[in-house]
C-alpha cells in the first residue's frame, strides 16, 4: 500500500515534469543518478547500506525549475539489541550480557520541488515523503536566496519541517520507563494487525542561514548557521539497556533536543597548478550537551580539460551526551547512573573519527552539436572513502569496539539535455 503510494507520487511527479516540459522550446533537462555503498563490520555488529537515487530537473522557462526524485536505503546487517557495560559484565563473568539482532530494512523516499527565479532572487519549495517498515516521514522545506554586490555576495535562508512517525511497542500504562520493553520487530507496524504496536510522533524544525562571499577572483568563503529543534520519540525503539540486576529497559532519551551548528569554509583556486584547495571548520552544540568539532580539507586538481581528481580528509570529535554512560548499573565514574535517561547509542558517546578519500570526475561539454546527439553536457564521478572511528568509552560489556572502520563507495552520473 505504502509502496504503491510512493510509486504513484514519483509517477505523478515525472508526468508533471514531462507535461510541463513538452510545450517549451528552450527547456533544459538535467538527470542525475547517484549510488552509494556503505559497509562497516566492527565488533559484534555489521551494516551494509546501499543507497541508490535518481533526480530529474526541468527548466521550462528561465524563471522556473521543477524537480522530482527518488532515493532508497537498502539496509542489512546486525545491530546491538541489548547494551551492557563493564561493571555489569564483571559481576556476571560467565554470561553474554550484550546481544545483537539482525536488521533488514528498505527505506524509499520520493521528493519533489520547484524554484522560482526573478532577477537576483530565488524562491524554492520542496516536499519529501519517505517510508520504511518502522518509520514514516513527511518533510516540507522552503528557501529564499538573493545575490547582491554584483553577485559577489549570496544570502540564503531556509526552513524545513518534518512530521515523522516511528513504530513502537505498546507499554503497560502502569509501568515507569525503567520497565518499558523494546520493540521486538517491525511486524504489524503502521497496521492495526498487531495490538502491541503503536506509533510515536517526531517533529523536526530546521532553520538555516548561509552567506557566501567572493573576496577575490580566486577566493570565496561560506558561513553557515543551522538551528534545529527535535521533539518527540528519539530513542531507538529496538534497543534495551541493562539498568540493574534483572532490569532491562527500552532506551529512554529526552523528548526535546535543540541543536546548533556554525560552519565556515573557504575555497582558494591555485592558478599555477590549476587546482582548488578547500578548508572547512564546523562547531556544534546541542541541549543534550553533545559538542563537536569537524575539520574538513579537500584538494581538487584538473588533469587536462575533462578530468579532475580530488583528495579529501575529515576529522571529527565529539563529547558524550549528558546522560550517556557505558554502564548504568554502577562502577566508578564515568560509569554509573545518569539521572532519568539512559541510552545504548554509540553516537551519543564521546568518540572521534577521521575520514580519507578520493574522487575522480570526468566532465564532457558539447562543442559542436550535442554529445551522442542528445546531451549538452555529461558528468561521471567515482569516489571511495574510508572512515575510522575511535570510541573513548563505548564498550560491549567491557569489550572495546575493534575494527571500527567503514568503507564508502560512491558513483554519480549526471547529464544535461
Amino acid at each position: 500500500m505504502q509502496l504503491s503510494r510512493l510509486v504513484a507520487l514519483v509517477g505523478a511527479g515525472i508526468a508533471a515534469l514531462v507535461a510541463t516540459a513538452a510545450p517549451a522550446r528552450a527547456e533544459v533537462v538535467t538527470f542525475d543518478t547517484t549510488h552509494t555503498l556503505f559497509h562497516e563490520s566492527p565488533t559484534r555488529t555489521k551494516m551494509t547500506v546501499y543507497t541508490p537515487g535518481a533526480d530529474l530537473e526541468v527548466a521550462p522557462t528561465d524563471w522556473l525549475k521543477i524537480r522530482a526524485g527518488w532515493e532508497a536505503d537498502v539496509v542489512s546487517g546486525a545491530s546491538i539489541a541489548v547494551k551492557a557495560g563493564p561493571a555489569y559484565q564483571n559481576t556476571h563473568p560467565g554470561a553474554d550480557v550484550v546481544t545483537a539482532a539482525s536488521v533488514h530494512d528498505l527505506r524509499n523516499m520520493a521528493r519533489g520541488g520547484f524554484t522560482l527565479k526573478k532577477e537576483n532572487v530565488e524562491l524554492t519549495g520542496g516536499y519529501a515523503y519517505s517510508t520504511e517498515n518502522d518509520y514514516k516521514s513527511n518533510s516540507f522545506n522552503v528557501a529564499a536566496r538573493t545575490d547582491t554586490y554584483e553577485h559577489n555576495s549570496q544570502f540564503e535562508i531556509s526552513y524545513a519541517r518534518n512530521f515523522d512517525r516511528v513504530c513502537d511497542r505498546v507499554q503497560s500504562a502502569n509501568d515507569a520507563p525503567a520497565r518499558w520493553r523494546a520493540l521486538e520487530d517491525s511486524n504489524g507496524c503502521f497496521t492495526k494487525s498487531n495490538p502491541l504496536r503503536t506509533t510515536r510522533d517526531i517533529g523536526v524544525d530546521g532553520f538555516q542561514g548561509t552567506w557566501s562571499q567572493a573576496w577575490t577572483p580566486i577566493f570565496v568563503t561560506q558561513l553557515v548557521y543551522t538551528a534545529q529543534v527535535n521533539s518527540g520519540f528519539q530513542s531507538s525503539p529496538y534497543r534495551s539497556v541493562i539498568l540493574g540486576e534483572g532490569l532491562k529497559a527500552q532506551e529512554h532519551e529526552p523528548e526535546n533536543r535543540a541543536r546548533e551548528a556554525l560552519a565556515v569554509r573557504g575555497n582558494l583556486f591555485l592558478k599555477p597548478i590549476k587546482a582548488a584547495a578547500r578548508l572547512g571548520v564546523r562547531g556544534y552544540y546541542d541541549t543534550w550537551d553533545v559538542r563537536s568539532l569537524t575539520v574538513e580539507a579537500e584538494f581538487e586538481k584538473y588533469l587536462g580539460e575533462s578530468l579532475r581528481v580530488m583528495a579529501r580528509g575529515r576529522y571529527y570529535k565529539q563529547s558524550g551526551a549528558l546522560f550517556w554512560s557505558d554502564d548504568y548499573t554502577g562502577g566508578d565514574r564515568p560509569l554509573g547512573p545518569k539521572g532519568q535517561y539512559w541510552t545504548g547509542d554509540r553516537e551519543l558517546s564521546p568518540f572521534s573519527s577521521w575520514l580519507v578519500g578520493a574522487r575522480v570526475m570526468y566532465t564532457a561539454q558539447a562543442k559542436n552539436g550535442r554529445i551522442l546527439g542528445i546531451m549538452e553536457s555529461f558528468r561521471a564521478g567515482l569516489s571511495g572513502d574510508m572512515l575510522v572511528l575511535s570510541y573513548d568509552e563505548f564498550t560491549l560489556g567491557g569489550q572495546p569496539i575493534g575494527n571500527a572502520r567503514a568503507y564508502i563507495l560512491g558513483i554519480t552520473v549526471s547529464a544535461l539535455f
Binding site: 544570502f155 577575490t216 570565496v220 551548528a261
Partner: protein, 70 residues
C-alpha cells in the same frame, strides 16, 4: 542569544565584505571546482551516511530538515 549574535556578525561582515569582483574577473569563480557543493546529490548521500553515525548535524550547504532517524 546566539542567533542575535550571528545576525550582527553577518551584517557587520557583509558591510566590510562587499569587495567587488568584476564580471570579467569571474571566470575562475564559475568553475565547478570553486563550488562548495559541486556534486550536491553525492555530497548529500555521504552526509547521510556520516550523520547516521555522529551526534552532530547541520552546517552544510544543503536545504532540508534532515531526519529524526534513530
Amino acid at each position: 542569544m546566539i542567533p542575535v549574535r550571528m545576525i550582527c556578525i553577518v551584517i557587520a561582515a557583509s558591510t566590510f565584505g562587499c569587495v567587488t569582483v568584476k564580471p570579467q574577473e569571474r571566470a575562475v569563480l564559475a568553475d565547478p571546482v570553486m563550488q562548495f557543493e559541486g556534486d550536491p546529490h553525492a555530497a548529500a548521500q555521504l552526509r547521510h551516511a556520516l550523520e547516521n553515525r555522529e551526534g552532530a548535524y547541520g552546517g552544510s550547504s544543503a536545504v532540508g530538515g534532515g531526519c529524526g532517524c534513530n
